[in-house]
Amino acid sequence: MSQHQKVLVDFGSTFTKVVIFDLSRESLVVRSQAISTVGVDATVGLKRAIQNALTPGINVGSSNNYLASSSAAGGLRMICSGFVPEMSSEAARRVALGAGAKVVETFSHKLTRSEIKRIQQLGPDIILLCGGTDGGNSEVLIHNAKTIAADARLLGRVLVAGNKETHDEIEKIFMLAKKSVLFCENVLPEIGNLNPDPCNTQIRELFIRHIVKAKGIKEDVLMPTPLAVLNAAKLLAEGVPGARGLGDLVVIDVGGSTTDVVSIGKQRPAHSHTVLRGLPEPYAKRTVEGDLGVRFGLEKIVELAERDKDSGDNELIRYSRAVWQTAQLPSSDMEKRLDSQLARVAVEEAFERHVGKVEIQYTHIGEMAYQYGKDLTEVEHVIGTGGPIVFSPDPRKILEGVVYNRDSPHLLKPKHPRFWVDQHYVLYAIGLLAEEFPEKAFRIMEKTLKEI
């Protein structure tokens, strides 16, 4: 019966994907996709994807049975602007990433004319303006707000998440410029305190209400695709009443254009004599490496493969160069094996950038250990998703790139994790379903994840 089935849609950049779950059996019914038609009329691609999914017994019912995410038309593109690079600018960037956005560029200090021009060229969906702790510096944020309001060519939605003392004046500035502006709580209300949630909520509202429609999708989209994956990760870590979660975990999502890493867990010092340094990291931390996709822009991966070259790897370098030219999917067994190796290179590098690091400084009072970022050494579960992992003949080999290595002891990578693969490639759908049925979503996820 249709009320027992839920359709989860993802409007991707290349494909429109459909996943159908049976809610009473709490299982996956089918997964299908069709070429995206978002540029023309998103509904066409969606209907085709559903057609591809339909077999007797599947009744998708009316359109209010869908929940959708989207990464189409470039996804949620954001520009972040703050004051001090390591403080409010970095806070802005982290919050935007945690909202599932693609942070196209981050600026610091007062914006110059050429930076404004760059913002205009980049054409972001949202401009996130931060700067100053509450009661702190106002000058930079007000200057930036004035400059942005004054430029008629800047069409992105403006969201102010900085020093609250600037709100009244910025409101006036935008009123005079006849432009709209939104406000939310400061992402950095005081030094050492990252406050992502109110801003994330506001970003999501903007995405749902305005941005998705502007990209040509009439369907109700709940969130950007990366946020759906992030939510699935959180759900898996936390569990639901009656079912314990896995605890702190890592999700690796290898894609054609980017490799994303999500770590769920509080930031804690690795040892009792370790001092935490730097801006606090969010409990649900997401990083996106735009130069580590395994199909587009392989320059960095080729560079890394060449650097780690040993006797057998010339073959890998040749293959990676070929893929760089053609972006073709692997067909032969050998190509699949090499493609997995490329994915492994991407995973190692992406994870190295994401994970916390310890820096030992030798002082006259002894060794001091400074920790930047999260200690993931005790993480017990690593989940892989994304085509290159899901369709690989040996996904475990790819994911092992995240394991602690005694040659780089300063990288706080997991020491003894278990590995899982999102074998049906439905993690986004779990994240979407969790919006309405978190317990069912959790139980379906338990069934669809395969330990490897």
């Binding site: 001090v84 403080m87 100053g132 510096n137 005081e190 030094i191 001092v275 009072i365």
Partner: protein, 148 residues
């Protein structure tokens, strides 16, 4: 004083001494200051970045392990670079790195004034006096800003 002044406290460099800066912070709070406590083991750059982001009025640095001069070599330059030439700077604690220096406080004081500090305090100090001086310095600074 009608506005709440913002001051940053902390122990600079690799110094884990924390009691002095905690006592100082508490007394400042009791006297109506808004205190941003960075605690011990605070790198010089953190004082600067925090002062920028919070638009702090003063930085009251503590140092007890005798390495302050080493830690603060280019402090003044960094402050100017960060546009913080208007911030009142105090330092106190045990600033001497040798017995000779310890014995000659006046010379030590000059050294730290050259590094950029407005007032330099010896190990034993009356915090009530410090607060009076701080309020005086802040009021004088505010007046001169208005007169510009």
């Amino acid at each position: 004083m009608n506005k709440k002044w913002k001051v940053i406290t902390g122990t600079v460099g690799m110094d884990a001494h924390v009691i002095g800066t905690k006592i100082l912070s508490r007394v400042l709070k009791e006297n109506g200051f808004k205190v941003i406590e960075l605690g011990c083991l605070t790198p010089v750059d953190d004082f600067i970045k925090t002062a920028q982001e919070t638009a702090a009025d003063a930085i009251l640095m503590s140092s007890l392990y005798g390495m302050a001069e080493f830690d603060l070599e280019d402090f003044k330059k960094k402050l100017m670079e960060a546009g913080l030439s208007n911030v009142i700077l105090y330092i106190g604690g045990n600033l001497a790195s040798s017995r000779e220096e310890f014995a000659n406080f006046e010379q030590l004081k000059k050294k730290f004034e050259v590094l950029g500090f407005h007032r330099v305090y010896p190990p034993s100090v009356d915090l009530v006096q410090v607060i009076k001086e701080l309020e005086g310095d802040l009021e004088a600074r505010d007046r001169s800003c208005l007169n510009r």
